[in-house]
């Protein structure tokens, strides 16, 4: 079923999607589709986001109060739901980012101990 290209993409670790969404929203409010596109684009299409999985994540973040939702109109004048980072979310992003850095560093050290 899967093509070679798809196999080279990396499946997202649990919880990582939350981090990516928060990171994406730092640049300003965005609607769901735009967030998905941005994640894909910014990772040079390495990260494969099954776009649907965005929605549980968005709802989870809203429930935790890290992002908020507001009605607005999109670039082509269509009704759209915009997600916006809250102050709490901004703080959380910092925490999560530093955690991620630590984790990534640790894994990197294990994988390449000689370097």
């Amino acid at each position: 079923m899967s093509t070679k290209e798809e196999r080279e993409r990396i499946e997202l670790l649990q919880g990582t999607l939350d981090l990516l969404i928060l990171r994406t929203l730092v640049r300003g409010p965005a609607h769901g589709h735009a967030i998905a596109k941005a994640i894909e684009f910014n990772s040079d299409e390495v990260l494969q986001v099954e776009q649907g999985s965005l929605y549980p994540a968005l709802h989870r973040l809203i429930k935790r109060g890290w992002i908020a939702v507001e009605e607005g109109t999109s670039e082509n004048n269509r009704r759209a739901k915009f997600y916006r980072l809250t102050t709490k979310g901004r703080k959380q992003l910092k925490v999560e980012t530093s955690k991620w850095d630590k984790l990534a560093g640790a894994i990197a050290r294990i994988l390449r101990p000689a370097e």
Binding site: H31, A36, E50, G52, S53, H59, K63
Partner: protein, 870 residues
């Protein structure tokens, strides 16, 4: 949740929007609309799952998972209904018996008395080194006037009786005298009318009465206009002032009248004193110890006021103050604790059984659990799943158990002492208790197997085809130990029940000393009127006796002041011996007035001399008959006949001893015969006598004839009580029989559960070893060898259980000793017999699965690769 609800409502629209944008993008990249839409859908993923997961975000996950577990648990239970039924019934038995006994314990021991601020109510009494504990009426005024410890203090006389006439059929009612402030001290208000006024506690004013609600309803049709009406008690007019609620059970009576405190009986120089029960309400923060020493000083100070001849019994007087609640429940406390312990054992056995069942299933479900672990289920989640299944069992069991338990409380009402104002309530306390023991049960039986099962090693289990051998051997030892523990606990209960039953049987074998067959006893109490004339009473009883004798069906009839095993109505007297004035008898002696043929009627043997005759009347020489014990106590081996004795307040005339009769059990079957003295009723008339007759067939059928015979002598004379001797005997052993039955019932439950337990363990181990046994048989093993192998395993467990049980029983049965009769708490016969019974039951429980597995066809056995019983 409102925010989440709105978000979820818009989710469909959001998803549609999203997919449209993606489709649009794809079209812009040059795809055909159809292609573009398909690609967008694929990229989005499974819409249903997305929606599901999004919804889950907003649901409370804890409750959600619990719900999942519950549904799964129900499904699992439905899949194995036999397991579910046994487990639920077992738990229902355990929880039900505990709830039932607890509801009694709660009503009797835990709930405060239904009086105002009951913790300050105390009971005060004097001890004189002999006789009953009571307060001599002459001490009461000092207690009342000069104490420093009570806010209020009240007294009640012993409950007596009176003939109630002038309100329909004459009837006998119980009457109690109380000081006027007694009920207000308890804090109990009349439901109709008023309580006694202080002025009614004076001589001449005391002819007022409070009715018990029960009497008021049954006799006066609950008519509130009864207040200020007159009733006749023993021919004296009393004005009814009010009605007390039936819930007031202390002091017990149908009618209460005031105690006149200026009566002669309250003087130290009175020729007779009254025995009082004294209740006081302590001042706030006053301790019982202080009250006791205060009253002790007052009582000692009173000693000087008494005439010198009283000094002998006054010198060692000791006052005791105990809480009223304690006095009322004292008799049943240890019994209730024993029963609570017994039901606790039943619950433990039930838990061990269910635990065993769950363990079997846990191991049997090894494969399922392993698969779930392999699929990523967390261990904690698994433990929770197994616990939830346990929770389901326990909840259903508890509901079932509480219902049956509450039904059982109807039978257990007998455990509540008659004088205790307590009723069993089914309220949140009982349900809370039920819930707590259910939770404890769940922890005991649920956690261990859940934990063990969740430690399943995935790889091993899947490789072994569902059976993980190390897990089995580990749990197997535990299961064996639990079965042995069940045997031990049930052995302890069985031994307890065995000891009580044996006591009961010993009691039934006791020679009574009289012939109880076909006897009817009708007790008649003459009114204690002002113009009391004892000779008139004697004449009344003589006439009644004559009429009863001539009734058809009556073979013999006689009169006695007191009948065997009946209430203690007669006097006790200190006996003096003429010519041996220095002789000091040890104890007061029961003196019973009888008619001449009483001994003949009741079948007491005359040992020497003669019984009374019609010639022994008021104006002839006073005569007395002694029982053997009294004769021996006074005269030893010397001849008692012809000696003269005196009894009663001086100057008592001497009575000649004309006969000695054999002893009989008068006080209680379990009580050794006491020294007794009999006198002719014509010389010592009494106003309460029992007419006793022996019928040629069913004595009960004569009851109404006896009533009318009495009424034909005096139409205002009710019969207080009419009973056959069989009933008297049954009543006298009823508490003992009830206790033995109750403990026997619990022990039988325990035995049943333990048998199921050991059966379960052996059957399970057999099913695991089916394959092994198949090989053995195929290799030529005898089937009886297999049978022996299995039974040996079960017998090993039984022996361990018996050993532990006997050790436990030796430690515990001494708490039963106060309930035993002529049986030692370590009675070897009971221990051996019960152990044998239990072993036999255990052997049968092992034999059934053993035989089944020994008969297995090796071909079938070898082809099964099953994980265990389902």
């Amino acid at each position: 949740m409102g925010r989440g609800k709105r978000m979820l409502e818009e989710l469909d629209a959001d998803i549609r929007e999203h997919i449209e944008r993606e489709t649009q993008d794809n079209i812009e990249r040059g795809m055909s609309p159809e292609e573009a839409r398909y690609a967008a859908m694929r990229k989005f993923g499974n819409v249903m799952r997305v929606k599901e997961e999004t919804r889950e975000v907003w649901c409370s996950t804890w409750l959600d998972e619990l719900w999942q577990d519950l549904r799964f648990g129900l499904r699992m239970l439905r899949k194995s209904p036999a397991f579910a039924a046994i487990a639920v019934l077992t738990l229902a038995l355990g929880i039900g018996t505990n709830t039932a006994i607890f509801s009694v314990v709660d009503a009797v021991l835990l709930r405060p008395l239904p009086y105002n601020d009951p913790s300050r109510l105390v009971w005060a009494t004097e001890h004189f080194g002999f006789g009953p504990s009571t307060v001599v009426s002459a001490d009461f005024p000092a207690w009342k006037e000069r104490n420093h410890v009570f806010e209020q203090i009240g007294a009640s006389g012993g409950t007596g009786g009176a003939n109630l006439t002038g309100a329909g059929e004459p009837t006998r009612v119980t009457v109690n005298n109380v000081t006027t402030g007694f009920f207000s001290m308890l804090g109990v208000e009349p439901i109709v009318g008023r309580a006694f006024l202080p002025s009614e506690g004076k001589k001449g004013q005391e002819h007022v009465a409070l009715l018990n609600e029960d009497l008021w309803r049954s006799r006066f049709g609950a008519d509130t206009r009864i207040v200020s009406k007159a009733i006749q008690l023993d021919g004296t007019t009393h004005t009814v002032v009010g009605v007390m609620p039936a819930s007031l059970r202390y002091p017990r009576a149908d009618v209460w009248t005031p105690l006149a405190l200026d009566d002669e009986i309250f003087s130290p120089h009175s020729p007779r004193w009254m025995m009082l029960a004294v209740i006081g309400r302590l001042k706030p923060r006053m301790e019982m110890r202080q009250a006791q020493s205060d009253l002790q000083l007052l009582t000692q100070a009173m000693n000087k006021q008494y005439p010198p001849q009283a000094s002998r019994f006054r010198e060692h007087v000791a006052v005791e103050v105990i809480s009223l609640h304690e006095v009322l429940v004292h008799n049943v406390r240890s019994l209730l604790m024993i029963l609570l312990g017994a039901t606790g054992f039943v619950l433990l056995i039930a838990c061990a059984n269910v635990s065993n069942l769950l363990l079997s299933r846990g191991v049997a479900r090894g494969r399922e659990i392993a698969v779930r672990v392999a699929l990523g289920a967390g261990r904690l989640r698994l433990v929770r799943q197994l616990l939830t299944e346990g929770l389901l069992l326990v909840v259903i069991g508890a509901l079932l158990g509480s219902v049956t338990g509450l039904w059982a409380t109807k039978i257990l009402k007998e455990l509540i002492p008659a004088g205790l104002p307590a009723d069993m309530h089914l309220d949140q306390r009982i349900f809370a208790f039920s819930a707590v023991i259910s939770a404890v049960a769940l922890l005991i039986f649920g956690l261990v197997p859940a934990f063990i099962a969740s430690r399943t090693d995935v790889n091993e289990t899947l490789k072994e085809g569902g059976v993980h051998l190390s897990a089995i051997s580990g749990t197997h030892r535990l299961r064996g130990l639990m079965a042995a523990g069940e045997i031990a606990l049930s052995l302890i209960l069985l031994i307890g029940a065995g000891l009580l039953s044996r006591s009961f049987l010993r009691l039934m074998e006791v020679p009574l000393g009289f012939d109880p067959n076909h006897l009817l006893i009708a007790t008649v109490a003459r009114p204690l009127t002002v113009d009391f004339n004892s000779q008139l009473h004697a004449a009344f009883f003589r006439d009644s006796l004559q009429r009863i004798r001539s009734l058809p069906g009556v073979t013999q009839a006689a009169l006695t002041e007191r009948y065997p095993l009946g209430p203690f109505r007669n006097a006790t007297r200190i006996v003096h011996v003429q010519g041996a004035e220095d002789f000091r008898p040890m104890q007061p002696v029961s003196v019973t007035a009888i008619s001449p043929d009483y001994f003949h009627l009741i079948g007491v043997r005359l040992l020497s001399g003669r019984t009374f005759s019609e010639g022994d009347v008021a104006d002839t020489q006073r005569v007395a008959v002694l029982n053997q014990r009294l004769a021996h106590m006074i005269f030893g081996d010397r001849n008692a006949l012809g000696q003269h004795i005196g009894f009663g307040p001086p100057p008592a005339p001497w009575s000649e001893i004309v006969g000695i009769v054999a002893d009989m059990r008068e006080d209680a079957i379990e009580r050794e015969p006491a020294p007794e003295l009999f006198v002719p009723y014509t010389q010592h008339p009494s106003f309460v006598m029992s007419l006793m007759l022996r019928a040629d067939s069913n004595p009960e059928a004569l009851a109404s004839a006896v009533r009318s015979a009495v009424a034909s002598v005096d139409k205002n004379q009710p019969v207080s009580e009419i009973m056959t001797m069989d009933e008297v005997l049954a009543n006298s052993v009823a508490p003992r029989r009830f206790r033995a039955l109750l403990l026997g019932l619990f022990a039988a439950l325990a035995l049943l559960l333990a048998a199921i337990g050991i059966y379960g363990v052996i059957a399970y181990s057999c099913s695991l070893r089916t394959c092994e046994f198949g090989i053995r048989i195929a290799l030529g093993a005898d089937r009886t060898d297999i049978l022996k192998l299995v039974i040996r395993q079960g017998f090993g467990l039984t022996v361990i259980g018996l050993g532990a049980g006997i050790a436990g029983a030796i430690g515990l049965t001494r708490y039963l000793s106060s309930l035993l009769y002529e049986v030692k708490p370590t009675d070897p016969l009971t221990f051996v017999a019960v152990s044998l019974i239990l072993s036999a039951v255990a052997l049968v429980a092992c034999y059934i699965p053993a035989r089944r597995v020994a008969e297995v066809d090796p071909m079938v056995a070898l082809s099964t690769n099953r994980s265990g019983p389902q």
